[in-house]
Structures are given as C-alpha cells and as structure tokens.
C-alpha cells in the first residue's frame, strides 16, 4: 500500500516538475539580447500618462518616441517601448483622432525616406567577376598554405 502511494507520488512529481522547455543546445551568448528592466517600462508608462495632461506637449512626445523605437537595436526593448506606445496611442485616439493620424503619416514618411538605399556601387558584371576570380585565387592559395602547415604539424 505504502509502495503504491510512494510510486504515485513519484509519478506525479515527475510529471509536474519543471523541465527545460527547449531541447536545443545553448545559443552563443552574443545572440542573447538583454531584457528591458521592468522598472524602466513602468517609468515610461508613467511618463506618458503625465504628459497626457498637457495639450500640445503630449502630441509632440509621440513622434520622438516612435522614431526612436525604429532605430532601437534591441528587439525586446523596442517591443516593450511599442507596448507602452500602444497604450499611449489608444488614449490619444480617444482624445484627439485627427492629430494621431497626422503623427502616423509623419512616421510613414520617415520610414519611407530611411528605406531609400543611400549608397550603391556602379560596378559592371565584368569587373565584379574579375574581382571575384581574384578573391577565389587568394582563397585557393590560402587553403594550400593552410594544408601545407597542417602537413608540417602532422609531420612533427
């Protein structure tokens, strides 16, 4: 009887104990992005709600924050900022619908301008192939050198 109870307990523990959700091997540490700390998110939320009281001040705050979110490199921090921004825009929509549309139009224009490719090289295909062949020759020479060093190392 006791054995039965013990076995069932152990089975329940085994099922409900937390186990790693992901079986993948660890990613390189460089790919881990730091999470935005919670207090900062709350601070942002408070800042928005404080600025809502002011008339023109609240609408001018939104474009600056929207543009900063697009250039933010960390995706988790930008998603946290986006969440705060979502709350802000919902409140602004209730208060001033027209000004909100204007801000969105401004943001789209800024986005389109940044989409334009700033630089390009006017290289002909012929020149590109020449340079590619030079690079290939260099790679083959480098591989031959590395093979020679490996053979030397084994020879010792």
């Amino acid at each position: 009887m006791k054995l039965n109870v013990l076995m069932w307990l152990a089975a329940l523990l085994a099922v409900f104990l937390p186990h790693p959700a992901d079986c993948r091997p660890d990613d390189a540490p460089a790919s881990r992005r730091p999470l935005l700390p919670r207090p900062l998110l709350l601070h942002l939320g408070e800042e928005f709600s404080l600025r809502l009281g002011g008339g023109v001040g609240s609408s001018s705050a939104a474009p600056a924050l929207l543009s900063s979110s697009t250039t933010s490199s960390s995706s988790s921090s930008s998603s946290a900022v986006n969440r705060a921004l979502l709350q802000l825009t919902q409140r602004l929509l209730q208060a001033r619908a027209e000004q909100q549309e204007e801000e969105e139009g401004e943001e789209e224009e800024k986005g389109k301008r940044s989409d334009e490719p700033p630089i390009s090289l006017d290289l002909t295909f012929h020149l590109l192939r020449e340079v590619l062949e030079m690079a290939r020759a260099e790679q083959i020479a480098q591989q031959a050198d590395s093979n020679r060093r490996m053979m030397d190392a084994f020879g010792k």
């Binding site: 039965n4 076995m7 069932w8 152990a10 089975a11 329940l12 085994a14 099922v15 104990l17 186990h19 992901d22 079986c23 993948r24 091997p25 460089a30 697009t70 250039t71 490199s73 986005g111 940044s114 989409d115 490719p117 700033p118 630089i119 390009s120 090289l121 006017d122 290289l123 295909f125 590109l128 192939r129 340079v131 590619l132 030079m134 690079a135 290939r136 260099e138 790679q139 480098q142 060093r149 490996m150 190392a153 084994f154 010792k156």
Partner: protein
C-alpha cells in the same frame, strides 16, 4: 507479480518517460576541428597562431577568413568591399580599431547582401528583414565593435574616409548554415542541392555568369509520395500551384527584376536543361511551407561561341535564352 502491481509499475515508468520529450534541433555533426583533433594541444596552439591578415583595398572582394585593415592614404569617398563565402556558410563581420571621423562625413556601413547598381541581392521579397534593418551603420550604432551576421553567404561593407591615416580593421569569420537560402555562387561551374524543409520562403541560387543549367533532381512534396501527376506541361506557367522551381535570367542582381525563363512544378527524375545567356542566371525555389522541397542542379559556363544568338532587330532588353 500481481497484475495490479504490474500495471502500476508500467504507469509509473510511462509517467517518468513523459519528462523526456521529443525535440528536434539541427545538430551540426561537422566537427570544425576535423583532423586537428588528432593534434596535441601545443601543436594546435601553434597552428592557430596564424591568422590571415592583409590590407583592405578601396574596391575589394574577400573570400577568406581573416583580418583586413584599411588605412586611407588619400581621401577615399566611395569604397566598398564585397564578402562572399561558401554556399552553406554565413558571414560574421566585426569592426575593430576604428579610427574615423563620423562628424566629418566618414561612415562605415555593413549591408546584409550585395548592392550592385542600385539592385539588391537578395531582393526585398526574398529577404526576411526589412531594408533599413539590413544596413548597420557604425556611426549611428550604439555598441562600437558590434558583430553583424549576414543571413546568406554574401555581405558587403561600404565606407568613406576623408582624412589620411584614418582607417579600421574588419574581421571576417564564416559560420555554418545548415539550410542555406539565397546563395550567390562563387564559381561559374558546379552543382548544388537546395532543400527547403517546411518553410514558406522563396530561395534563389544566383550565378553571375552565362551558364547552362541542368536540373538533375526535383522533388516538390513529401519524399515518400513522389507520384505527383504532371498537371501542367513544362515551360508553361506554374504560378497557380504552391511549390515550383523557376529559372530566371537578367542583367542585374535583383531577382524580382529578372525575367522568368522557365517554370517547373512537378517532380522530375530525368534531366531538364537550359542555356541562359544572361549576365545573371538564377534558380529559384518557391515554397508554400507545406512540403519538403528539394532541387538539385548542375551548371557550367557557356563559352562565347555557345551563347544563344540574340534575335535580330529585337527591341527586348532581354538576354538570349535557349
């Protein structure tokens, strides 16, 4: 043992095994050391001391790992270095010892892909990131010396340096990519197999030479059920079905601006070949994500006398194909 006890024991064992779930991850079995694992630690350290270094030129193509240093002897206003790796590799770039004056108009920008004459490879439709995220500007990024990783086997770096004796060092490393998509071929001859496992992506294999392409194997759908009846003939439009292979030809690197030369939407086991006399020949695999698609092909350079003849008095801006 009584039946009740046995059943309880089995239930117990089954509940234990519920902890060990089935998981799938891509295990890279290619040991990067290879034969080096046979060496002793001292010998390994000796051989690793050697890192390839050379100066970077204003117009350059890099195909090896190493450290490339650019030092401006005169103001260089339009410089670019193309970086290319093997098809199943991606490129990791890192800037170090950067000595430029961002306020004077100097910049270093890393692009995830190649830009040639305003056209981008991979095209906007084929790349997973939006265009502004494919550029990494050293002057405006907050973390100096950050590593950027390309999504395919090509990358490039644009730089402009005004004052002499300014410069930077670029570290190039190659990383393995188990399912390559969007590949630029390094050589005009070779063969490749492109696999798209259950992903809704369009992948292009681009060869910047006029080549003859032979499709040796095409499998659209699950490997088991290869009995797809040909619903359409070869060389007629396939865009109705979800998964197909198309051959493109054109004079730029942007695959969305190239002309489709042929479509194939049923599995074949024989040879299908085509001569594409264009500056850029592309094999593109369009996948809906419902199946595992695989296409194998070989390609070889077309000699000058083998190039398809252009039609006389032709107004098309299209390179000849046969």
């Amino acid at each position: 043992m009584s039946v009740a006890l046995r059943t309880q024991l089995f239930l117990f064992l089954i509940s234990l095994s519920s902890r060990m779930g089935l998981s799938r991850y891509i295990e890279d079995n290619e040991a990067s050391d290879g034969l080096y694992s046979l060496l002793t630690l001292d010998q390994k350290r000796e051989s690793e001391d050697f890192i390839f270094r050379r100066p970077l030129r204003c117009l350059d193509m890099l195909a090896t790992d190493g450290y490339f240093t650019f030092v401006a002897s005169q103001p260089q206003l339009a410089c670019a270095a193309f970086i290319i790796a093997e098809p199943s590799e991606v490129i990791s770039l890192e800037l170090s010892d950067v000595n430029i004056d961002c306020s004077a108009g100097d910049f270093i920008k890393v692009f995830d892909g190649w830009v040639l004459k305003g056209e981008k490879f991979p095209s906007r439709q084929d790349h997973q990131l939006p265009l502004h995220q494919r550029y990494t500007d050293y002057c405006s990024s907050t973390a100096p010396g950050a590593t950027s990783r390309s999504s395919q086997n090509v990358a490039m770096i644009f730089f402009r340096i005004h004052s002499p004796d300014s410069g930077f060092t670029l570290a190039v490393k190659k990383l393995h990519n188990p399912f390559p998509c969007n590949i630029m071929s390094q050589s005009p001859e070779g063969s490749f197999t492109m696999v798209m496992p259950h992903q809704r992506r369009n992948c292009s294999f681009s060869i910047i030479y006029p080549v003859e392409i032979r499709l040796t194997e095409l499998s659209l759908g699950q490997a088991k059920s290869n009995e797809l009846s040909p619903q359409r003939q070869v060389w007629s439009g396939c865009s109705g079905s979800g998964d197909y292979v198309e051959l493109l030809g054109g004079n730029g690197v942007d695959t969305s601006k190239m002309f489709p030369v042929a479509d194939l939407c049923f599995s074949l086991s024989g040879l299908a070949q085509m001569k594409i006399g264009c500056d850029n020949s592309v094999v593109r695999l369009v996948s809906s994500g419902n199946y595992i698609n695989r296409v194998s092909f070989q390609y070889r350079l077309l000699e000058h006398h083998e190039l398809p003849k252009t039609r006389e008095n032709s107004l098309d801006n299209f390179c000849a194909v046969e």
